[in-house]
């Protein structure tokens, strides 16, 4: 019974390189993913069906926290100019050091008379919840002054005004913010929201569907 033996190759594939690639990619994505930075101001915006992505450039963000405090977040590019402009308007002199400190802060969350102490804080030390917020009362609407300074600092270039409110913020605060914008003749705002799906069967849903089928037929 002498039979020539055929050498059989193994059918099992070596998975090691594939495994290597998989984990390399995994590591890459984990490291490259930009995790949401822990925000100094905790805000949980409401949902809307809007699918427009919020602008990220040239922004002036007014944030309303759940306890109705108002904070201002500016585009880092205009911060220095805004402070100069505000100093001019309110006759406050800011030193170069003040300005450098100010550019380091992530947001503004105090009345003007506490601003100099506020900018001494190191980034990360400033927690929204501990700060009084920017006054927006009709008698002392400092937010309007900030907005006006930002508009002047931008010299006619269009700023994107974002309003980011918390679910639990009260309407009067939101209205006061709107008033501050109105005082500066600004009437267009972007309300930052989380997106949700358009309810099926609603008018907008039908409209979107119709727009989609139109697109398909023209293509």
């Amino acid at each position: 019974m002498a039979r020539a033996k055929i050498k059989r190759g193994s059918t099992s594939v070596d998975m090691t390189p594939m495994c290597d690639v998989a984990f390399l990619l995994l590591t890459f994505f984990i490291l490259a993913a930009q995790f949401k930075p822990t925000e100094a101001i905790e805000v949980n915006p409401p949902m809307s069906v809007s699918n427009r992505v919020a602008p990220e450039k040239n922004i002036l963000n007014v944030t309303i926290s759940k306890d109705n405090k108002v904070y201002l977040i500016m585009d880092p590019l205009i911060k220095g100019d805004v402070l100069d402009e505000l100093g001019k308007q309110r006759n406050i002199s800011f030193s170069a050091q003040d300005k450098a400190n100010f550019e380091r802060t992530d947001f503004v969350g105090v009345p003007l008379n506490q601003l100099k102490q506020f900018i001494q804080l190191k980034p990360g030390e400033a927690k929204g919840a501990d700060l009084p917020g920017i006054p927006v009362d009709s008698t002392n609407n400092e937010l309007a002054a900030w907005i006006s300074a930002a508009i002047n600092a931008r010299m006619g270039q269009q700023l994107n005004f974002l309003i980011k409110g918390d679910d639990r913020a009260k309407y009067p605060t939101f209205k006061a913010v709107i008033e501050a914008f109105k005082a500066n003749d600004q009437y267009k705002y972007n309300l930052v929201t989380n997106s949700k799906a358009v309810p099926e069967g609603s008018e907008l849903y039908k409209k979107n569907r119709a727009a989609q089928t139109d697109k398909k037929t023209t293509e």
Binding site: S12, D14, M15, T16, M18, C19, A22, F23, L25, L26, F29, I30, A33, Q34, K36, P46, M47, S48, V49, S50, N51, R52, V53, A54, P55, I64, L162, I163, K164, G165, D166, D167, R168, A169, K170, Y171, P172, T173, F174, K175, I178, F181, K182, D185, Y187, K188, Y189, N190, L191, V192, T193, N194, S195, V198, P199, S202, E203, L204, Y205, K207
Partner: protein, 175 residues
């Protein structure tokens, strides 16, 4: 390489039993599966969480009464946003016939009004009172989008209306 080479020792005496060697090769398929699953997960989650923005255009305040938007009484629906996610609504210009609803049911009311009114007459007046939240205001604006209402305005309730809401709230036991 996944398999490890096991060197057999040459010092095997005659009395030494050969122990059966198990293969040291590990099946990596589940590990690869897991790896790709995680990759897929990360790819999908990295782009999704961008915040969206809703446009809001407010009218310029005018003192001139002639420039105010004229609203046909028959086509108006007023929604007053009160405390505790309650909406008080009335048709035309008759606050005494105020009814109560919530944010889920308001869509039907808006749609009913929309169907029964000519498009050019339809006007929805939103009046958030002092106790309404920002979410309420955004929700109702969103509702305008969802129902494709183009003519609406956001104004303050009159003191009388506010009193009525207060009274209703007290009567209804809303704290």
């Amino acid at each position: 390489m996944a398999e490890m080479e096991v060197k057999e020792s040459k010092r095997k005496g005659p009395g030494v039993k050969k122990s059966k060697k198990h293969s040291t090769r590990v099946d990596l398929t589940p590990m690869v599966d897991l790896g790709f699953l995680l990759i897929t997960f990360f790819i999908f989650t990295t782009t999704v969480s961008q915040p969206t923005a809703m446009n809001l255009n407010m009218p310029k305040d005018t003192k001139d009464k002639n420039l105010d938007t004229k609203v046909k009484e028959s086509g108006s629906l007023t929604l007053m946003l009160g405390k505790d996610n309650i909406i008080y609504y009335y048709y035309a210009n008759d606050p005494s016939k105020m009814q109560t609803t919530g944010y889920k049911a308001v869509r039907d009311i808006i749609l009913k009004k929309k169907k029964s009114t000519p498009a050019e007459d339809l006007f929805i007046i939103i009046k958030p009172d002092k106790d309404a939240t920002y979410k309420n205001a955004v929700d109702i604006l969103d509702e305008m989008d969802i129902n494709d209402i183009t003519r609406y305005a956001m104004v303050d309730p009159t003191p009388e209306e506010y009193n009525m809401i207060q009274q209703t709230e007290v009567a209804g036991g809303v704290k």
